[in-house]
Structure formats: structure tokens, C-alpha cells
Symmetry: C2
Subunit: 355 residues, 2 copies
């Protein structure tokens, strides 16, 4: 099984902390000597690198739930990888794993955070998508924090993204009316025709939050019981007045604000919408719950079992947006933050022998 | 027991919807013929009228959890009253009751929302204060939505008000560190010396939210686990960055924003603080729960039993701020919204024979 191991590897490091939107020059591609696994370690090659909105937060210095990436250090990220050399008895050469390799072609790891993958169960790329971190984020956010009930109405932004697309499909399977918000007619058509959403609103076509709200009110004749928050901005402003008594807002992300200078000046422009939102939370007795998926990994086995079965039965579909080669990661990530991806954003770092 | 019933009664009606802070001319004192109780009804005289911040919301046309008071209709409000004529077998002349008489010297009622009071248990005025709506608001907000644990830290605004003072005392009794925020040195001294709070910060003495935050950080060396929200504004801005992971924010009110033009222009001035607050909710996995106390009246018996016992034992103290005569209600209410009251605001409408 083992192949010749190259002498060098590539990685993308954080070159500078972005001001607002990241630029290509905030990243740097480096070639470094191939590391050797020590006692209890293995060397793996990255097959799929996952690009996710949360990575934007790691580029800022401001306090978050996880430490910032240091300047000069490789960008962090979840990956699907293949073990190519091992001093760890739990991981053999040829094993496919899900591990936090970072934006790197190879990495030496101790396996403590790794999970072995069975290529027979599902395509291994799903381990960083619909059956990985974005998938369980959708699952826990909807079920634990959204507490869906059949007949209710759910609104989710970034409707064709890795999280939003699964939130909506899981909610549909539980008998909810599902209304997505996405950027562009093509994504909206996909959400309705392929994902089975009841409606999907194109936020590019809505001049402002009020216009989006009017469309949303039409699409949600019984109001909104769950707003799954992953975008904030205009979508949040639009949905707030439509949320029903005892509504729930699981807060998973706020991608439209990520580039606003660590949520400083940029996001703070415009009127202060806080009083109106706070008042609606009070008057309509809304539960707003921030959650970080790493707090809920105890649900991973149940999640994989349930959602894996739905995928096998064809009841859940997913879409991948693939960028070619590690060097393409910065541009793909910048595009992701602008909503330019269509489906789960992956970087094909090296050959996937299971495809 | 029965006394001569006057030919006329007084009431205060809503004369105009306030723009921003209510003015005396937004209210009108009227004298009208005394109504007669019909079948199943009684006539009662108001002894104590309760003034509460929520009443500001009823003066606005905007959608809230309860209908707005109509122009020309009497202001709504909870009262302690005495039945003076009755065609209702459940209520006898001389009974003391807690009922929604409104800002009126007398009212004919059907008793469906009334509760009989036992003057031997506690002063009857407490039925609209520490043992009434404000009291159960504090009790449910803290226990059901705040989920306090011994050793945690709680921050509450309007610390000497009807709700805040009980929130803090109940939290102290459960082993929490309690930090209040109040307006003025006198109130702060009372919160610490009489209510037993660990600290109380004078928001008048803090130039802005940042200054208040620095004081709060000193007073909360282990951060803030529960922020009981009843004031919003500067206090909310100050506390948000101090809230710990898995913190809770029961949202009970936001008095500092009530006068801002139905939460329009006035409250929306200044920077948009929403993105920073939303981000903190996500990053620190905070639960924000709006609640309206009428959803929780099933807890009333437990509440009265528990808190009544604590009052009897002298473990809970309360303070009343009494305004004399129904005609004084508008001025007292305007002052309440400005923080000019000190303790539970009551209007002494007629003689309390139990005092």
C-alpha cells in the first residue's frame, strides 16, 4: 500500500490578519521539508480540505471560543486524509481518517482528534461535510436548540450551503414548512427542486431587509417558528418581525458579518437594530441559543447513524463545490465568504483513491 | 361593613399616544358616574394601584403581547381593592382582592381574574409587589430562565426596583454573588446594606458603557453567569463582554429603551451594537430567553409559599415608594420610567384599612 513519500510538503500559512475581507496576500503558500512521525505519531497526506466560514474568526486576534491562528502558522482546518507512515498502533498505513490537518498537504499527528473512516459507508469526502462537522452542526442546531415540531415553519439562510441545506432537509423530513434564503436564482431553484424546500428567497433580488421581509412574510403565512441563524445581516433583520410567540433562534454563525473588521466598524454601520430585536425576543418570548458544535460531539454516533441512513435511502442529498489543489484554497475561501460557493466547499488537495 | 357608595368615581384615561417620554397631557383625569354591578359582578374600590414599566408598552400602538390601551380608555393596571357591593357569590363586601382595576378609583368586575387576599399573611399592598406580579416575575425569571447555581455571579439592573431587588435577594439566598446596577449612590447603598447585594454600581456615575463595564469587571472577578435583563441600554452594553461561557440572559424588560419612540428612532441612535452582542451569544453559547410572566402563573402557588415564608422570616425585604391619590399617578409613572422611584411604585388611591 505504501507509496514513496516526497521530500517536501506544502502548506498555507496566515501571512497577515485581514482588515475586513481577506485578500490573497493575507495567505502564503510555503514549501517545507516533509516532517517525520515520532513515537505514537503518524504522517498523513491530505485528500480533502474543508473550507468553512468559522475559519474567518480564527484569522482575527479578537477573543473567540478557539485561539486565533498565529501569524506564520498554517491555517487550521478539518480534512480527510490517508495515513502514509505510522508509529501509532491505532492507525495503519492506508487508513482513511478525518483529522484536523490544517491547510497542508501533509501533517504529522498523534491521532487523538482523528476518526477512522469506512469508505464503504459513504464517500469519504462527506466526513467533512454532510456526515461531518457541518452536518452535525445542522443536526444539533435544529434538533437540540430548534426543537422542531411538525407543522411549524423554519427559515434558514445560506440555504444551499453545507449547514443550511441539511437543516432544511432534516426539517422537511420532520414535517416542517421550510423556507430558505440564498444568493441567486440558481441556488434558490436548487433549494426548491433538489433539496425540497417549500420556497427559497433570493437575497440578491431584495433591495433591503424590508423587501426581503415582505417576500418572507408571503412565503411564511403562519409566521416563523424557528430561525436557524447562520448568516445574520439582512436575513436576520427581515425575519425578526415574523417570528412567532415561543419561537427559537439557534445561533450557529453569522457569515454576513464575519468580514466586518472583527465585527467592528463595518458591521456596526447603519441603525442600531438591537433594541427592536431585543424587544421582539421579550414580547414573543423567543429563545436565542448560541452553540458551538464541539460542545455536542457526544451526539456524533447518533447523528452519523441517522443521517447516514437518510443519505443511503436518498432522502438527504448534498452538493460539493470543489476547488483544485491546495494553492487554490485562499481564493476558494475568499469566495466562500462572499457566498460564491454552491454547496459544501472542498479543496481537492490530492487524489481520492476511492473515487 | 358596607359604607355609602359615592355617586361618582375617578379614572385616568389615555389622552394621547406618547412620542418618546410620556407627558402629563398624555393622560386625563375624568370623573364619571359610579357604575352598578350587574349579574355575577361586583363593585370594588381601589386601595393600591401598582405602577409598572410594562405599562409604557400598552400606550404605544405597536404590536405587543397585549393589546394597546385605546385612546380615551382607562389605563390598565393591577390593583389591591376592596369589594363594596357584590352580585357575585364568590366575592363578599369587605373582601380584599388583587384585580386588574386599572387606573380607576372604582371598577365593576366579574372576578374571573381576581385573587382574594388574606390580610393576615402579609400587608395587602404586597399583592401587587413582592408577592404579586413583580415578585413572580423575579422568581420565574431567575429560577426557570436563569437556572442559578451556587457560586455563580448574577448581574441585575434596576437593582432596588420591584423586580431587581427580589431577583438579587433570591439569588443571594441560593449562594450566588450578586452585583446590582442602580441610579444613584443612595440606591446603591440600599442594595448593599439592606438587600445584601455584594456590590451595586451607580450607572449615573459611569460616563458611558465602557466605564460601567470596567467597574462591573472589577465587581465580577469570575465574570457573569446570569444577566437578568430588565433595563437594557448602557447596562446591557457593559455586561455583554463579561458574560461567561454558557451564560444565561432572561429578558424581562428593557426600561431604558421604553421611551425611545416605540423603540424607534431614539433607541436606534448610536452604533449598531447588535453584531457584537450576537457574536458573544454565539461564541459564549449564551441562552437568551424572553419571557412574559402571564405564561408562568402556574407557578404562583409555589412562589407565594416560598417567598411569603422568606418574608415572614425576614430573609427578604422590600421597599415601597408611595404616591398619594389617583391624580398623582401620571407624574409618578413618568418618574418611574426615569428611574425616579425608589422601590416598588404604588399609588395610594384610597384608605388601606389594614394599615
Amino acid at each position: 500500500m505504501s507509496k514513496a513519500i516526497p521530500d517536501t510538503m506544502e502548506r498555507i500559512v496566515l501571512a497577515a490578519r485581514p482588515q475586513g475581507s481577506p485578500k490573497p496576500s493575507d495567505f502564503r503558500l510555503e514549501t517545507i521539508p516533509m516532517p517525520q512521525p515520532g513515537e505514537g505519531e503518524y504522517l498523513a497526506r491530505t485528500i480533502w480540505l474543508s473550507l468553512d466560514p468559522y475559519m474567518r474568526g480564527r484569522m482575527d486576534e479578537s477573543k473567540s471560543y478557539a485561539a486565533a491562528v498565529e501569524i506564520g502558522a498554517p491555517m487550521e482546518g478539518g480534512c480527510v486524509a490517508e495515513v502514509i507512515a505510522s508509529n501509532n498502533p491505532n492507525f495503519a498505513v492506508g487508513d482513511f481518517i478525518n483529522d484536523g490537518m490544517g491547510w497542508q498537504s501533509h501533517a504529522v499527528r498523534d491521532g487523538k482528534m482523528a476518526r477512522k473512516l469506512d469508505p464503504g459507508l459513504a464517500p469519504i469526502s462527506t466526513a467533512v461535510g454532510v456526515l461531518g462537522m457541518p452536518g452535525i452542526t445542522a443536526y444539533v442546531g435544529l434538533n437540540t436548540h430548534g426543537r422542531p415540531k411538525s407543522g411549524e415553519t423554519l427559515v434558514v439562510g445560506a440555504a444551499t450551503g453545507a449547514v443550511g441545506s441539511l437543516v432544511g432537509q432534516l426539517a422537511k423530513a420532520q414535517g416542517l414548512r421550510v423556507v430558505g434564503v440564498a444568493g441567486g436564482a440558481e441556488k434558490c431553484a436548487y433549494a426548491v427542486n433538489e433539496l425540497g424546500f417549500d420556497a427559497c428567497l433570493d437575497h440578491y433580488a431584495a433591495a433591503d431587509a424590508s423587501a426581503l421581509r415582505r417576500q418572507m412574510a408571503d412565503a411564511c403565512p403562519k409566521g416563523v417558528d424557528i430561525y436557524f441563524e447562520n448568516v445574520a445581516g439582512k436575513t436576520l433583520e427581515a425575519v425578526i418581525p415574523l417570528i412567532n410567540v415561543h419561537g427559537r433562534i439557534p445561533v450557529c454563525g453569522m457569515i454576513s458579518w464575519y468580514n466586518a473588521g472583527a465585527l467592528g466598524a463595518g458591521a456596526a454601520e447603519g441603525p442600531n437594530i438591537m433594541p427592536k430585536i431585543w424587544r421582539t425576543i421579550l414580547v414573543n418570548r423567543i429563545s436565542v441559543t448560541g452553540f458551538i458544535i464541539t460542545d455536542h460531539y457526544d451526539q456524533f454516533p447518533t447523528f452519523v447513524k441517522e443521517v447516514g441512513a437518510l443519505i443511503k435511502e436518498g432522502k438527504i442529498v448534498y452538493k460539493e463545490s470543489i476547488s483544485d489543489g491546495l494553492a487554490s484554497a485562499p481564493a476558494a475561501f475568499i469566495k466562500l465568504l462572499e457566498g460564491g460557493n454552491f454547496g459544501k466547499q472542498l479543496v481537492a488537495v490530492s487524489e481520492d483513491p476511492t473515487r
